[in-house]
Amino acid sequence: MVEPLLVVSGLAARIGRVPILAGVDLAVPARGIVALLGRNGVGKTTTLRTIMGVVEATAGSIRFADQDITRLQAHLRPGLGIGYVPQGRGIFPLLTVRENLYLGLRGPADPAIETHVFERFPRLAERLDQKAGTMSGGEQQMLAIARALMMRPRLLILDEPTEGVMPRLVNDIRREIAAIAASGIAVLLVEQNLRTALRLARHVVIMERGHTAFAGPPESLRADPDLAHRLLGVGAPT
């Protein structure tokens, strides 16, 4: 069996003195989308931030590409091939689109990747010299995803990419996420919209009060409406 690209085992973390995570287990295969779901405040964002090294893990382990990265400094993780699009996008509003796009690169951009990114997000190519903060929420989200792609990630972590985005652009972003996954990049997706998550994901992980309460294919969730209702507060869409 092929080792998953990202394996999180028994992960625990606290913010200040408050324990937020206590036993998160999840695995992301090298291809496809894994959706991380749960009610507000169960620790989804903290899980992603701990994977990225922004929050320190107090127990458990994080392995990426067969390497233990639990104690690795945050700034060294993107270089391994982990792209992260945080909640709220994490763009630099006072810098131009161009500056934002190339921020994570240590040298000149790979022309092939550059072309690929601009084909995927043509709006960005038209707005290269515009201040990122002056773009719409959806365009900023596209910029955040494009910036992560410029760094040629093997795994892309997306934290609520459609939050605060105008409905017209939500479908565009979902389509792009599916296309990114289809191009061979593994995706770990936190998404509030259950219907979207279940449609895109190959595998679903549900968190409850800081730990993993369910992990399995979306079909299992659809087959057990009570489970979805108990863990998410809503019924699984058919």
Binding site: M52, G53, V54, Q73, A74, H75, L76, R77, P78, G79, Y84, P86, G90, F92, L94, L95, E99, Y102, L103, G104, L105, R106, G107, D129, R147, M151
Partner: protein
């Protein structure tokens, strides 16, 4: 036409005016301004060092005078005590400043905001008092005077700093080279990392940027720029003094930067030139001219937070047919 294109054209015009100054000023019997312009260039370079840290990395330093002083003393000690020529002495001044910044930076870049500002002042004060105490090496209160060695010899022709035109052109050449270097730096991946760290350390780290390393590199480069300014000022004044290592001198660089425009390329030079001009024109007629400087700073902060260069860019962008 874009703001950038207009500014590039104006920069080329300004450069042409600066190059022509030694031959144009005598036509108006204004040779005196050649020395003042040379001083403006040096102070502009010094302000650029504060701007690199504050405007590009977000670190407010009140200690750049320390590296300016190391540049000065490197040259003065090199010439006076070791008998070095122009270039080795200049190199010694810059190397001393860079080495000092590399050591101080290890401690300073771990801090931010007022803590960073305080530690830079503390380093500056330590070496200011040390320079006063180490009289055999630094000349103490009296400072160190020296006769500048020739810049170069071509057969029978000697380029000497005693010739005011040569001195001015040497200073201009270094200032232009230093500003060209900064332009390249800010457009490079390292320059982009500076901007990312300035905007948000956390976001920068999530993009794989080693925040402490980037800050340290910026600190060392800024030290080098201040050291170059100090070295040139030592040649300009034939003198090195601990007075120039005092934190008040560092504060002036911050003021020039704020007035000229933080985070802009030529803003610090503009601020330094303007306030040197105010000093030259007003100090002879009114001893409290610093009140005017203070008023200029307050007005700038209130009405043009991005300084003269920022206000200029904003005004250009409002013109019809000009895009930002």
């Amino acid at each position: 036409m874009s703001v950038t294109a207009i500014n590039r054209t104006l920069t080329a015009v300004l450069l042409a005016v600066l190059v022509a100054a030694p031959w144009v000023l005598p036509m108006f019997e204004a040779e005196f301004w050649l020395a003042i312009t040379a001083e403006m260039l040096i102070w502009g370079l010094f302000a650029a060092s504060a701007n690199l840290l504050f405007g590009h990395v977000g670190l407010l330093s009140f200690g750049q005078a320390l590296y300016f002083g190391f540049g000065m003393y490197g040259v003065a000690i090199g010439v006076d005590r070791f008998g070095l020529g122009f270039w080795p002495a200049l190199g010694l001044g810059i190397a001393a400043a860079v080495a000092m910044a590399a050591v101080a930076g290890v401690f300073a870049v771990r801090l931010t905001w007022h803590y960073f500002a305080i530690i830079t002042v503390v380093f500056s004060l330590i070496f200011y008092f040390l320079a006063l105490r180490l009289k055999p090496l630094t000349g103490g209160d009296d400072g160190l005077s020296f006769a500048p060695p020739p810049v170069a010899r071509f057969g029978d022709v000697t380029l000497s700093l005693g010739d005011e035109t040569v001195q001015y052109l040497v200073i201009l050449a270094f200032a232009v080279a230093a500003f060209a270097f900064q332009a390249r730096l800010y457009a490079s991946p390292l320059g982009r990392a500076f901007a990312a760290v300035r905007e948000s350390e956390r976001k920068a780290a999530l993009l794989g940027i080693d925040v402490l390393k980037v800050r340290w590199i910026a600190f060392v480069i800024a030290g080098g720029l201040a050291g170059l300014a100090g070295a040139l000022f030592a040649f300009y004044g034939r003198y090195a003094s601990a007075t120039y290592m005092y934190y008040v001198v560092s504060g002036e660089a911050v003021i020039w930067t704020i007035v000229g425009g933080t985070g802009t390329l030529l803003g610090p030079g503009i601020g330094a030139a303007l306030l040197t001009l105010v000093r030259e024109e007003l100090s002879t007629v009114w001893e409290h001219y610093l009140l005017v400087v203070g008023a200029v700073v307050i007005l700038t902060v209130v009405f043009a937070p991005r300084g003269i260069a920022g206000a200029w860019n904003a005004a250009l962008a409002r013109l019809p047919g000009v895009r930002s």
